[in-house]
Subunit: 139 residues, 2 copies
């Protein structure tokens, strides 16, 4: 059963849509600045926290494992990631960020304008309020 949403909720949903659009725009631009696509940048960000089996990447990306092959291929071709065997299970390949990959991931994180300009408009107390509200929305 569909139910009409009240005007205030609709307004918030529209604003979230605008935030989503802007986030993507800036994330993709930052990735392009390092000659990566958005998907490649997301995977590199994951790997900069530690190696992951191909399967683990697919789960976090919420996509089919077959897609991860190509994305890691392209990161590997640029020297940003590499595949390592898993000593515990020879079927598994662990994708890991190279040293240069970690540097690029850190640079990308810092170059995300979104983290500075827009949020700078809020005071520390307001940022904390925003954090708490978003955390509750996400459940």
């Amino acid at each position: 059963m569909t139910r009409r949403t009240d005007p205030l909720t609709a307004e918030v949903v529209d604003l979230i849509g605008a935030v989503v659009a802007r986030y993507h725009q800036e994330y993709d631009a930052a990735a392009a600045g390092h000659r990566m696509t958005g998907a490649q940048a997301r995977v590199l960000a994951m790997l900069s926290a530690g190696p992951l089996p191909m399967r683990g990447i697919a789960e976090r990306l919420r996509c089919e494992p077959s897609n991860v092959t190509g994305i890691v291929d392209r990161l590997e071709a640029q020297g940003l990631a590499e595949r390592r065997p898993d000593p515990a299970d020879r079927r598994v390949k662990l994708a890991a960020a190279t040293e240069r990959g970690r540097a690029v991931a850190a640079d990308l994180r810092d170059s995300l304008e979104f983290a500075r300009e827009p949020l700078a408009a809020l005071s520390a107390g307001e940022r904390a309020t925003l954090r708490d509200l978003l955390a509750r929305v996400l459940g």
Copy 2:
């Protein structure tokens, strides 16, 4: 020059990233429920507010005009949109939602779970606070 972001800002940015991921997940699922992709659903939502020249769609989508041709082709193939001539300029083609397209767009809007479940966790006052903070973040 890159500058380190403070922990609170980083936390908010991470939460926004989570919101973005969830928004896409639900938006794409809702679109798939109507046999559309996310891009097709976004364009149909635009057109449900009124006809737009192909160029105008590209500007709002922030993509090249050549891409819009295929997206509108697919909406047209499903009877959700149609192309009309612009009486004022014979170079222009106006894309418009069909009656069925408008009905699907309305249904899609209502079926966006994101608008209900998560935001229902907030009181009206909190939703208003969230709205104001997001509006200021977007500038």
